[in-house]
Symmetry: none
Subunit: 202 residues, 4 copies
DNA sequence: CATGAATGAGGTTTCATTCAT
DNA sequence: AATGAATGAAACCTCATTCAT
């Protein structure tokens, strides 16, 4: 029980920090946010932050990991429920669009970093792994869809890249205020682009 | 004539700086590169750099602008030559894939920033403008393609996003060594995905 | 009785702390040892340390005082037993050489500090007092020895300094592994140097 | 010539820094002196200090090395001039007593560190080497003196330790204000203690 | 009493930028 | 024009110490 007491507090503090950090990171990127700011945004002293995270990078990573895992779990859950490859892919896309729309502030951190896979050596392995995990999940479903005739017979790699990045692009346009489309509209468009059968739904 | 002499030298110096900077930026991002590094990579003293650029941001922007303009010009040129919307879109995509494949180190700086609308406020406006300029060019061609029946009747916005981001994604996978496909193969796949007529080419 | 019980525990805790501290101080000096390290070496929490000592300096002083008093007491005891000034001086030297040889880790803290005029003002007074007490004891015996003709008629101050510091130097060389001489050999050499009668012992 | 220009400035700045540092170190020890203090004592900005020394330890080491080498050189010079072992040893002692008396502020740094040879791992190798160099020089002269009959037939190691440390002790007492003796008096006493012939000089 | 948690007050170091030659 | 030198402003991080359970 005591252990739990301790863990609860620790987790609570960590999430306070990560939440505050996420917000700041999303607005100004990792490098230009200071620990001082994170601390005061989280309502605690700088040294307290250092009691939970050994360095700024760790906070950054934690913020990313937390969001990425949450997203991965949600995606997985909604794909499970869907029947058929097309429906699963739709679930994949829809979950992301919705999640990112709700977690607007996270999007910037998340996707800017994942667009940045070429950069800072240290972080990369982890990010790439996270990216691959999500990407491969999508690709394998598409593969099935090709077999079942729901998707056109095209390299599943390319198809997956297109769909994955299209999702990302839609979010970007949305978050920059360039697009007002609803998730439903976006999904419908994607269906007509990527599915073999392009007839509009009824 | 003297004026010209002067300008030539100045431009030469500028490009030495920008070239050195681009290489560094592409490897480690803007924030973690120091002016000292840029200067010594360009073979001059730090203070000399400041004689040509008033601040680090300006160097960064210049690096971006230089590449972006070059890319834009090349894209425009190859689109001019192409006949028909589909061919123009293909030219757009192909030019980018080829250019970025040749300018590998530039890719990271360039395209990663566009997921990064989160950065120092000042840069954003400029980035967005560069992005929009290229994006709109693509979108307007697609619009024509929809009219002419070459592209499916789907929101040209979404189509453009998909194609633009798909291109970006292909590059990313390529530059991470995840994909070995040739430009031709990639373009062929995209044709079959996005064009109305999905029959394979002969 | 309860009071005693209480005091015993308290003393026990104090010595746990001081022992741990002494070991660390001897290896790395006062400034670079942290309370955290002392606490964990003593097997308790940092805050507990503060229940027994109000500050780091106090721990340091306690470590010094404890050893110094022990040493002083032993020195005094063996001098009491000795007959004649020369024998007393020999007892003084011998006790120290043996004690410091046994308490190797303490040596560094103890004797190195007395060259250190550089400490936080507070410590100095204490150090000097400790030093003087021991030094004066030696000097007064030497004085007697001069009267009794055992020591040459030379400033007792200088003689005391020489003997005191020679002892220190011997320890230093020993603890750096530069000298393998036994205590007996060292004492014998000192006798022949400082006593009036330089004939070798039988 | 240009090279010289540069070197001159560099050396000048370095010595400004080291001089200021030495003074502070001698009063308050290495750890409790801040770079800020050193900088402002040297009349320059903190960052300037870092242009000449990469870290505080380096300043400390430089301060020590500089003094130690100066002292070594002076000692060597005066020993050269002296004829006979006893005279050389006297020169050794006298030079040190005089030098340290003139460079009072340096003594604390110097001798506290050399009394501290057991402590901080990093510095030690260098210091020990410096110590040995001086010590061995003294010992070899004493060895000669033993052969020539000027010094008693006692372990030259022990004799050297005694004389070396006696010198140190005399300085300590002097700098604490415990002794008012002149260098001449001190040297005279040492002669009568350590030389074989104990008759007073005329 | 014992301790986990919190923190204020610096410490060292870095770096974009300016100055003076 | 080119540069070596100088610097202010901060950044990250540490640690002795206090608080609250």
């Amino acid at each position: 029980m005591k252990r739990t007491r301790h863990e609860v507090l620790s987790e609570f503090r960590c999430s306070e920090i990560v939440d505050a950090a996420r917000e700041l990171f999303s607005k100004r990127g990792m490098e230009s946010v200071t620990i001082d700011e994170i601390a005061s945004a989280a309502g605690m002293a700088k040294a307290t932050v250092y009691q939970y995270f050994p360095s700024k990078q760790d906070i950054y990573l934690a913020a990313l990991r937390m969001g990425a895992q949450e997203l991965l779990a949600m995606t997985e859950a909604s794909m499970e429920k869907a029947q058929g490859a097309a429906a699963k892919v739709e679930a994949f896309v829809r979950t992301r669009l919705e999640y990112l729309r709700r977690n607007h502030e996270f999007f910037a951190v998340y996707h800017s970093e994942f667009g940045n896979l070429t950069h800072p050596a240290g972080l990369n392995r982890e990010f790439r792994t996270l990216y691959r995990r999500q990407f491969d999940r999508l690709r394998s479903v598409i593969e099935e869809g090709i077999q079942s005739g729901e998707f056109p017979r095209i390299s599943s790699d390319v198809l997956a890249i297109c769909i994955y990045e299209a999702t990302r692009g839609l979010m970007l346009h949305h978050s920059l205020g360039w697009s007002q489309a609803t998730v439903d509209e976006e999904v419908a468009s994607l269906r007509r682009i990527f599915l073999l059968d392009r007839r509009e739904e009824s």
